[in-house]
Amino acid sequence: MKIKSRSGVMMMSMFVIIAVSVLFVAIPEGINAQQEENVFVTHSGAVVKTTGEVLDPLYTSATVEFDPMEYLRDFNYGRISQLDDNTTLREFTIIANDDEIMEISPGIFYNVWTFNGTVPGPTIRVTEGDIVRVKFINNGEKEHTIHFHGIHPAGMDGVFEPVGGNGGQFIYEFEAGPVGVHPYHCHVMPLEEHIVHGLYGVFIVDPKEKRPAADEMVMVLNGLDTDFDTENNFYAANTIPFYYQHHPIQINTDELIRVYVVNMVEFDPINNFHLHGNLYKYYPTGTDIVPSFYTDMITLSQTERGIMEFEYQYPGKYLFHAHKVEFSEKGWVGIFLVNENKKSIESEEYGS
């Protein structure tokens, strides 16, 4: 009896320790009830089931706020009129804003600064020698400008004439030139901030002697620093990461493809463009009509740009992406889906 009560105390303390231990073994993070399962595909093709939600930068066209597929082949030729000396006047209106929140990747919201509501802004397309007149309205909170790359008078450079927010206006007017593909962007300090938030776009000057007809498209290579640590969280062709991977760009065999490429990535010194299963003729800055390279890989520094031309011989899916793989694994990757060309379909008319 004596021993029993003593060991009783010990047994009790042992029991408490065991009970606590068992409790922690038995109840890990709560019990998951069987729910309906979602499925997703990994980068390596494995299919994974989950009872929860899928985190995948996979956009459907229904949810996308900015449609990269629409932007890809959307050229703005302006309101055209003839001046007395028979030169063509092309008038554009560009409105800046800096308060829009956009879902730039599924579930991730970022304050974009926009020209005409999108990043990149509208692609402005003119012919060499045209008079370009851009009415700029700044509806943002901050000062903004438009600085065109190209040849123009100092007063039209969009640097020393900041346009005040809340309705400030300015008219940029100059003769289009030189031939090529150029960026335009806001040039207000702090410049990096104004660029990385999205105030940029593409300005194409066509030669008077037109380039051959082709399926033409614009790709702005850009990055998004969503947590402001001066490193890009996302990279893309035309803003939305992985978009053209999940929504391949449809093209045809034996049809000339012309891509106007502009690198607007900040923070990282270089970007590049690699095409699968093919090589392209490359015209740096698009200022010449004779290609400088025949390659499948070009390196682009900040605002470096050019024109690529290629044709696919074989149908199928071909990747295009940054061969700086970090960029491609953060969104700068896409697919050309090459379809068999029905010879009856004529390629699109150039210009209009």
Binding site: M10, V25, L55
Partner: protein
């Protein structure tokens, strides 16, 4: 008389309740009409990745919202490369809520990985894993393996330490006090060790919002007070009952050491679970040597008792066996929070035991804690522990 008594009672209740009423009004006002006045500053979201498990072709991350506002998990990446992933049960995390992010990934053993989670406002959080190691799948074999490790580092060394009992028994009172003080020194070291470990775990894996240092302090003091109270009860009851005071003290010591060894077991189990390659036979030997001293701590107060074999075995088990349970829990269901809690409880228990021992030496001896025997015992206890700890 009765009336005035009643009214004074009413006054008492009222005077106690009135501040509460005002406090409730204040809170209601701040949440209600006054909330706009206080709407200053931008609350920043925060999440913690508490646990990362490397499974077959998959990395699993336990994410807790430890910020002031609710968040949505939007994206996962490995080494800053975006990966398709899943979040269970869902992406919405209220404060302190957790979710499991499953990232399919062909990882390589022993390579370092940075796990990134991006939330809806584009903020990316990162956790670095030094070396990937497969998560332990509970199996009977592993269960047994942990039991053996627990026995090696917990039960056996304590039992070996207890074998010094006959030696301590034969020595003079002065030397006996030396050994009691030595025990206190050993325990003080263990207590500090536990606190350090608890702070380290909370620093590495617990979010700032848990107030790691204060959590450790609070749990430690609560544990100390709880055991101090029950210990005193036990000792005072010992005077009238069959348990003698030395037995009561030895029991308190073994419970305190048991709690400490539980924390130690957690650390060992977690180390195996996290694949710390340094964990080896050498580490087990270190722990074993270190823990042998704990046996002395239990044996010392019992040395003036008779018929102690049974008690010794029981106390050895109380002190040593928790290492097994700790290893199981640490290996299979490790959570930094429970780890911190148990280490703090263990520290509180140990400090309580130290006080008990010192009080006892003071009563036993000549109301003197500054004798050469006590001072040197204490000092040597600390030194022994330090030297054996180098092995761990």
């Amino acid at each position: 008389m009765e009336v005035s008594n009643k009214s004074s009672k009413g006054k008492l209740i009222a005077s106690g309740a009135i501040p509460f009423v005002f406090l409730i009004i204040l809170i209601a006002y701040i949440f209600g009409p006054g909330s706009e006045l206080l709407d200053l500053g931008v609350p920043l979201p925060d999440i913690s990745m508490e646990k990362v498990d490397f499974l077959n072709s998959e990395i699993q991350v336990t994410v807790r919202n430890t910020g002031p506002i609710s968040v949505e998990i939007a994206m996962a990446d490995i080494n800053d490369r975006i990966q398709p992933a899943a979040v269970e049960p869902d992406r919405y995390l209220e404060r302190y809520e957790t979710a499991l992010v499953r990232i399919p990934f062909e990882w390589n053993e022993a390579e370092p990985y940075r796990i990134g989670i991006t939330i809806e406002d584009g903020t990316r959080f990162e956790k670095e894993i030094e070396a990937a190691a497969p998560a332990l799948e509970p199996s009977l074999e592993l269960f047994g393996f942990f039991a053996i490790i627990g026995t090696y580092v917990g039960i056996i060394p304590v039992m070996i330490g207890l074998l010094w009992l006959p030696f301590i028994r034969r020595i003079s009172k002065q030397k006996y006090h030396f050994f009691l003080a030595l025990t206190a020194g050993l325990l003080l070291f263990l207590g500090i060790d536990s606190v350090e470990e608890a702070l380290e775990v909370s620093d590495e894996s617990l979010a700032g919002s848990f107030n790691g240092v204060l959590l450790v302090a609070t749990v430690l003091i609560l544990s100390f007070l709880g055991l101090y109270y029950t210990g005193e009860k036990l000792v005072s009851r010992a005077k009238s009952s069959r348990i003698t005071k030395p037995v009561a003290i030895a029991l308190m010591i073994s419970i305190g050491i048991g709690l400490h060894n539980f924390g130690e077991g957690l650390a060992i189990g977690a180390a195996v679970g996290l694949g710390s390659i340094a964990f080896s036979t050498f580490l087990i030997i270190g722990f074993a040597l270190h823990n042998t001293t704990e046996g002395i701590a239990i044996a010392s107060p019992l040395s003036r008792e008779k018929k102690v074999i049974g008690k010794l075995i029981a106390m050895g088990l109380i002190a040593g066996a928790p290492a097994i349970f700790g290893a199981w829990i640490g290996g299979f269901v490790y959570s930094p929070f429970t780890s911190v809690i148990f280490l703090s409880i263990g520290a509180g228990a140990i400090f309580q035991v130290i006080i008990t021992i010192l009080k006892w030496i003071r009563e036993e001896g000549d109301k003197n804690l500054s004798s050469a025997a006590v001072a040197s015992g204490f000092a040597i206890g600390m030194i022994i522990m330090y030297l054996t700890s180098i092995l761990v």
